[in-house]
């Protein structure tokens, strides 16, 4: 499988009144062609910042991509792109879907125009061809009678329909990578299921790689082949869907899985929850960020960055628990 995107040691921070917020503190992961990867984490863990930096949407006056961060897409390091290369890359090679489609669409332009704009930017100059391609896209994402709805404005669509228009815009020029930044968080459950199915279908059809950003573990289980768990600006665990759900290694991932009630199980035991709250990113703690809330916390965790351990092919976790010095400390049997 050819590596489509590789992110190496990405560090992004934002300068504001209350000092410098280190949103992303050294994130490395890769996405192969046609593979669907999920980035899971709670709010403030830097997953959205990572996605928007990969798309080159992080505005640099307040934001700052630190030295040594590399984002290699199809062999080219996009952090060194010129404005021209950025314009060809955004929309052509890589596309993004946002959470709130009503805010993400221009309220005073018809939906047809907003799709055609992208087609024109990427080489389809002829008016007629652009129109027929737009209508094809609208049908592909399941919008009824597209000719009429072509002239409608974003506020005349329901939440689910608007999200389909966002998807139509994103897949317009068959990008190699599609980033979905919490596409269904604002939608109801039944509509969310339709949108997830639509994305899975379209992605399989065009062999597009997907990065699904979400905090909903159910959506992840439904959609992702590989899962990356992020906490406080760092990747804490990475692995295939089975590894993460059934052979969980990192304490944070396990606590996250146990704190979500299962619809199909009727266990009466209390939900296991994580004490305290995520750390304040203006002065991130030394050592492991999860130490303050971790049941297996050792003194080393508060002093040194946890190293990366690999369990089976592709399944890694950053935790001191698996160091040989900590062998006998933890009783429970690791499944």
């Amino acid at each position: 499988m050819k590596k489509l995107l590789e992110v190496k040691n990405l560090r992004v921070s934002f300068h504001s009144y209350s000092g410098e917020v280190e949103a992303v503190r050294g994130v490395s992961f890769h996405v192969n062609e046609g593979e669907s990867v999920a980035i899971v984490g709670e709010s403030g863990c830097g997953k959205s910042v990572t996605a928007r930096t990969v798309m080159g949407l992080t505005q640099c006056p307040p934001g700052e991509i630190k030295e040594g961060s590399e984002i290699i897409f199809d062999g080219r390091d996009i952090t060194k792109f010129s404005e021209k290369e950025w314009q060809r890359y955004r929309g052509g090679d890589c596309a993004i879907i946002f959470q709130d489609a009503l805010a993400a669409l221009n309220p005073t332009l018809t939906v047809g125009h907003q799709i055609e704009e992208k087609l024109k930017l990427h080489g389809i100059k002829d008016k007629k061809e652009a129109y027929s391609e737009t209508v094809r896209l609208l049908t592909a994402v399941g919008i009824p009678n597209p000719e009429k709805r072509y002239k409608a404005y974003p506020h005349e669509f329901s939440g689910g329909m608007r999200q389909r228009i966002m998807i139509a815009i994103a897949i317009a020029c068959n990008p190699g990578l599609l980033i979905a930044d919490e596409p269904t968080t604002a939608l109801d459950v039944t509509i969310q299921a339709d949108i997830i199915d639509l994305i899975k279908e379209l992605v399989k059809e065009h062999n597009t790689a997907v990065i699904m950003i979400t905090h909903d573990l159910g959506v992840v289980a439904d959609m992702a082949e590989r899962i990356i768990v992020m906490y406080a600006g760092k990747v804490v665990e990475e692995g295939s869907s089975e590894d993460i759900f059934y052979k969980t290694k990192h304490p944070y991932t396990r606590a996250l899985l146990n704190s979500v009630p299962r619809l199909d199980l009727d266990e009466e035991k209390e939900l296991e929850f994580i004490e305290g709250a995520p750390p304040d990113m203006t002065d991130p703690p030394k050592g492991c960020a999860f130490a303050g809330r971790c049941p297996y916390c050792m003194e080393i965790c508060t002093k040194e960055e946890p190293p990366c351990y690999e369990f089976n092919e592709g399944h890694t976790a950053h935790c001191w628990k698996y160091h040989e010095y900590a062998e006998g400390l933890f009783g429970e049997v690791e499944e």
Partner: protein, 320 residues
Amino acid sequence: MKSFVFKRTVQMIFVLFLVSVFSFGIIHFSPGDPLAMYKQPGMHKMTVEQEEALKEELGLNGTVTDQYIGWAKKTLNGDLGTSISNRLPVKDQIFERIPATAGLMAASLVISIVCAVPLGLIAGMYNNKWQDNLISTFTYFGISIPAFWFGIVLIILFSLKLNILPSGGMRTIGVDSTWDLIKHGILPALVLSVNNTAVFVRYIRANTITQMKEEYVMTAKSKGASGTGILFYHVLKNCMLPVITLVGSRFGMFITGSFVVESVFSWPGIGQLGMSAVNNRDYPMIMGITMLSCIALLLGNFLADILYGFADPRIKQGKE
């Protein structure tokens, strides 16, 4: 849409009624005899009947309410009464001077829009950069300069010291060329448009900054659009919407003109007419000017709202 138009017209009529009662009340409770002009020493002594007839003609007899009703009836069918000072119909005098004020106002409005739109956009686009700071300093001065003082300074500079522009009036006697008219109009138009431009620039700049933060700009960028492409294709249209409301609110000035600028530059417009009417307590004239300017302003805002409805699709059908 129709219910909105109906509701707004009812509101406008109610406001007009309030304005008329308010100004009529003020004028009629001010002391002093409106006919004082006719009783200057050394003027022909008027007999009692003549005075009664004069009052009758000028609608000054009876209690305040009778006078108001009389005035209101006449105004409704277009007759704004006769001016006390020169006994000519108020309506003609006002309409005769409208071209002068309207011309000046139109010129200053056009200048301000033409300057303000690009300046506002640039200031909004390059927020907190040197372009923005430069333009912002200009706008701060623009809104802080007292108009009359700015007029005086310009007169000192251009007419007295450099003597290239006339210091007042609308035409040099005997010359009837448009170039002469323009030469006279430059300074007053400049004074008015500096203030207008400053207000417009601040408004457009604030709006551009909010629009640039909207998510649809991020989506446009993610489609591969260039910076300027986003500005002209997406942001420009949404920034122009508030300009409509702004121009609407300035519409009233087409009638009132600016009293101050017209008196500093002795521009023969309605502003000057108003000032002289006040000096010699010409009630019908004051009432006429007040009512007309109020109608112009209300109409301006009303048209702006309607135009805004057409421009912004979100509002078109949902008229509340």
